[in-house]
Amino acid sequence: MKVERRVISVIVQNEHSVLSRITGLFAARGYNIETLTVAPIPESGMSRLTIETRGNVRVIEQIIKQLHKLIPTYKVIEHEEMIEKEMVMMKFPINESLSNIQALCEAYNGGIANVSSQHIITMIADEPKRVRHFIEAAQRFHPIEIVRGGVVAMERE
């Protein structure tokens, strides 16, 4: 069976150790987590997790069912068509071209976040595929550090 990438959003009750229930489930059943982001949903007592995972159709189906089965899980959202974004921060040495770096970042919905005497820090936010392109393209400016934020997603409709 073909292994595919899937982004799943999970709405959970914001309670003690709920995150470890989710990650524990992935670990115990041998599922993959490529990226994971978590944050509370304002004024709801709920949190939203976005999990980027891989597996064949049967595995993806089991992941969704097993997530549903967890008692604090309110909703599992999985769609072929999700609007996905990922944020990336990158640190460059100060001797690299500030204007070239800025131009590159702007092409990927970002810009310069901070400039110190030593470093240039940039941030971008774009679709996961474009994020990969950005990281590739940025290599020529000799980045010192890359921080990826993990995918967040929202249903299109």
């Binding site: 959970v12 009750q13 003690h16 150790s17 524990g24 049967r58 189906e61 008692i71 309110y74």
Partner: protein
């Protein structure tokens, strides 16, 4: 009403109708035990090991369908209980285990007898709670009982820090609860049920694949009706033994690794498998890609994650089996013609004539299967039968004449040696009018032998029948078949004197080497009604057959073993 956390625990037991708690006290749960001392609502049975407390609660729950309850302390008390939780989890048994925890201020400091209990139990419970204040304790206890028994049942663990049991708060026990994130589907999809009824009526070679879900949902009566109306043959999993009466001509026997020839052939040749509450365990399916290769599959289960997990299902129905069957039976009745399956029944009958489930009896040595059949003749439906794990367990499943659901209490999924005796203690407490028999092996019985003391002290007579082959028999059998008889650490020739061991704990022991001696011992044990240990010296080299080697296909059974 204001009360302490410890008092709340007692009150909750009262409101949940708990009549028995199995447990073992210790530092972190002493406040609760202090309240147990003062109350008269339920009986506390002191086991001699926390694992046994949980197995006893489990046995109680399996025998009745009610939620079993066990109390243990923090740290080692809890870790000892983990095997019990895992056993109940694998077989979907509703129990609530309350453990003590170090005071909240000490959590995370590696305090004395501290362990991250909810961290450990997370993967072997349906749900668990670490209680943070007495205020939330009533709601949590209510939820624990509700979660354990509803939907797909399972164990729930409640970890209560010592200061929470001392703290006072208002006791406001919810009459009903609503967990917005937990709403099991109980009503099956009507269109799917209709479709299923149609394919049942159109099938040529259908077979019922009966699983433990029938027992959990108390729907054996409906299943019996469905089988009788359709005259479709049925196989039972280990967990479903007793759903159909042993002498029902449509019952093909147990399916799977040690299933009968006709049951496994029926599954292999069927064109329709009607799976009612099983979970397609690897011990049943053998090689998955060959399982039910020619069959369309209907699968009814309350747990959506059980459906399509291992085998693709053509007609999935998520719902409570009882509710689904109540709708399905009239629909099947409308269209079914039982004569339609006559040719199929004849084929299966022929299979059974060629390779019936049987063993070769002997005059020289007692065959283990004979012992089980004998107990079946003497006690039949007067006994509830527990087992440990191994050869004796499979022989019991094959040869005991079960006649009602919940008559057979055994650790199926986890395969926990040491389960049988404490479970049988719980069974006796739950069913005082039944004779509680534990078939065990000379390996398994030693894994919770200390429960002799519990059973004697608590006056809960269990008849332990040790099928003693001086081997760790099932592992020995695999070594014989697959490891060229290299009997690594399976020779148990050195063993205690089981008679004196039983007597040392206040029970009664018998050593038996002939059939006559066995009859005498069994009758004496039944008559005396005390805790008994019958040490039966059986044929050492007997194997459990038929056998589907691990990962093999169901239709390729080893039917005999010749040296």
């Amino acid at each position: 009403m204001e009360m302490t956390g410890a008092q709340m625990v007692i009150e909750a037991m009262k409101l949940e109708g708990v009549d028995t708690v199995f447990g073992y006290p210790g530092g972190a749960i002493m406040n609760v035990y202090d309240e147990i001392y003062k109350q008269k609502e339920f009986r506390h049975i002191l086991t001699r090991h926390e694992q046994a407390a949980v197995h006893a609660a489990d046995g109680y729950a399996r025998a009745t369908g009610k939620v079993g309850v066990a109390f243990v302390t923090s740290g080692p008390g809890f870790t000892n209980a983990v095997t019990g939780l895992a056993t109940a989890y694998m077989d979907s048994v509703p129990i609530v285990v309350v453990s003590g925890q170090v005071p909240i201020s000490l959590i995370g400091t590696d305090a004395f007898q501290e362990i991250d209990a909810t961290g450990i139990s997370r993967s072997c419970t349906k749900h668990n709670f670490l209680v943070r204040s007495a205020k939330e304790l009533p709601r949590i206890l209510k939820e624990a009982f509700y979660l354990a028994a509803s939907g797909r049942p399972g164990p729930v663990h409640v970890d209560i820090p010592k200061d929470v049991t001392a703290e006072t708060a208002k006791f406001d026990y919810p009459a009903r609860i609503d967990i917005p994130t937990y709403r099991p589907t109980t009503k099956g999809n009507l269109r799917q049920i209709k479709k299923a009824a149609e394919v049942i009526c159109k099938a040529k070679r259908p077979v019922f694949y009966l699983g433990g879900g029938i027992v959990h949902s108390n729907s054996a009566e409906l299943v019996r009706e469905l089988v009788a109306e359709t005259k479709i043959p049925a196989v039972e999993t280990l967990m479903a033994r007793g759903v159909l009466e042993h002498d029902n001509p449509l019952l093909l026997g147990m399916v799977g690794m040690h299933g009968s020839y006709q049951a496994n052939m029926a599954m292999s040749e069927a064109d329709l498998m009607i799976a009612l509450g099983p979970r397609f365990d690897d011990r049943v399916t053998g090689k998955v890609s060959e399982f039910g290769k020619h069959a369309k599959i209907i699968h009814v289960d309350i747990d959506p994650s059980s459906i399509g997990k291992l085998v693709d299902v053509d007609y999935p129905i998520v719902g409570d089996l009882k509710e689904v069957l109540e709708v399905m039976i009239p629909k099947v009745k409308e269209c079914v013609d039982p004569d339609r399956y006559q040719a199929w029944r004849d084929i299966l009958k022929r299979y059974n004539e060629i390779h019936p489930l049987a063993y070769e009896d002997s005059d020289k040595v007692i065959k283990p299967q004979w012992v089980i059949e004998r107990v079946g003749q003497v006690l039949g439906d007067k006994a509830v039968i527990s087992t440990d794990v191994g050869q004796h367990q499979m022989w019991t499943a094959q040869f005991y004449p079960f006649s009602f659901p919940r008559q057979f209490v055994t650790s199926g999924g986890l395969g926990t040696m040491g389960f049988g005796f404490p479970a049988a203690v719980g069974v006796k407490r739950a069913c005082p009018d039944k004779i509680s028999v534990n078939f065990t092996g000379d390996g398994s019985i030693l894994m919770n032998i200390q429960e002799l003391v519990t059973a004697v002290e608590s006056r809960l007579p269990v008849i332990n029948i040790v099928l003693n082959n001086h081997y760790l028999g099932m592992v020995r059998q695999w070594q014989t078949f697959f490891y060229e008889k290299r009997y690594a650490e399976t020779d148990l020739s050195f063993q205690p004197d089981f008679v004196r061991l039983a007597e040392a704990c206040g029970g009664i022991g018998y050593r038996v080497e002939t059939k006559e001696e066995f009859d005498e011992a069994l009758n004496d044990a039944i008559e005396k009604g005390v805790v008994a240990m019958i040490d039966v010296i059986v044929d050492r080299e007997e194997n459990v057959l038929p056998m589907v080697p691990s990962g093999g296909t169901l239709y390729n059974m080893l039917l005999e073993y010749k040296d």
